[in-house]
Symmetry: C2
Subunit: 197 residues, 2 copies
DNA sequence: TTATTATGTCAACGCGTGTTGACGAAGCGC
DNA sequence: GCGCTTCGTCAACACGCGTTGACATAATAA
């Protein structure tokens, strides 16, 4: 599926990184439960046993995959730009048509597609709170900031699920502009007022 | 977990129905992949082998569980009432706190929580299209009716996922009114204009 | 060189899953 | 009573999963 990396034999650091990269790709496209260690290892050009050996288990691998060693998603964004930025995250994430996500939003896809799965839910919930909910809520102010951020996350999750599981909202070139506008209005509605109690 | 039904021995129709009821409850709460035939059968007070025997496999059981032998979700709804109706579906579905869903929206929960899962995705996509997307789109008119209905489905899925996987938006009594208002505005934004190209 | 460590390979385990076939037992017509 | 069909029970299978330990081989030091 991915071209196996060669000429990297007997290099622990590079092997570890190859496994991590392959895991990120697969977790982002298929979700934690729907991919096996053998596939991840296979695309990394590595023996499946090494995954458990290097990372100490599949859950630890996921935990490492969603660690924030990639740039944060909401840095330098002004509150007024949030709707456009959120819509952009959804529209740019599947850059090359259907497959490899842009690296900077790969973490978002991992969270979206591993949300179900009892084994991954705790890790996913924690990472989503830290990487998405908290940054959005920090940009807002007033009562109900968390609730409004939650609604944004719901839209992110819903649109992501619709695309991956239902094949809807594919964002073809011809419709992308209209969809982007609709998503921005949706995020505006979510951010504008929610839980203002 | 559920009180096992007794005094139903040697009654094929009743046994079949008990399995189907248990399957609906479990699929709605845990999703297709996260529940085993042994649990479903156990809560139905039945041997696990009977599930495969009566329904011919787990996928067939899911197919039967989402069949529309329960009342449709969007009957007698006027377009203007759609936002309130959709918000109501999300807020009333977990009636007794956390657990047994109201029967009339159990099918909705099954679809939400089984959306990932490669084995169930085709069945879920088909049922979602028939039970949710098509009815909503039929209530709308003009260009982009399907895209707008898709956005509504995305909100349904997202909010449902957030609740089941992340434990957010729990809709406590004190916040329910505010959340309902926010959801209505969200659905209004989704229905108002989307994909108008 | 040889000895030692680091890295990768292989086969197998234990577990849970959905599924199937053989057997037992209840209902029912004769 | 018997015979036959229907229904339920039990044990086992085959499969895939994550994981582990024993072994082989490359890299490195003595």
């Amino acid at each position: 599926m991915f071209p196996p990396i060669q000429a990297r034999l007997r290099n622990a650091a590079a092997t570890r990184q190859a496994i991590l990269d392959s895991a990120r790709r697969h977790f982002a496209r298929e979700g934690y439960d729907n991919v096996g260690l053998r596939e991840i290892a296979g695309d990394a050009g590595v023996d499946p046993a090494l995954v458990s050996r290097y990372f100490g288990g599949k859950e630890r691998l996921l935990k490492e995959a969603v660690r924030s060693d990639t740039p944060p998603l909401f840095e330098g964004i002004r509150p007024a730009d949030l709707p456009a930025h959120l819509a952009g995250l959804l529209l740019e994430d599947e850059g090359d048509g259907c497959g490899n996500a842009a690296e900077k939003t790969e973490r978002l896809l991992i969270l979206l597609r591993s949300a179900s799965s009892p084994r991954a839910s705790e890790i996913v919930r924690e990472a989503a709170g830290e990487d998405i909910l908290r940054p959005i809520a920090a940009l807002l102010d007033g009562a109900g900031a968390e609730a409004r951020a939650s609604l944004c996350l719901a839209i992110l999750v819903g649109v992501g699920m619709l695309r991956s599981a239902f094949g809807l909202l594919p964002a073809r070139r011809t419709e992308q502009a209209a969809l982007r506008a609709a998503l921005e209005r949706l995020f505006e509605a979510a951010l504008g007022d929610a839980g203002r109690d």
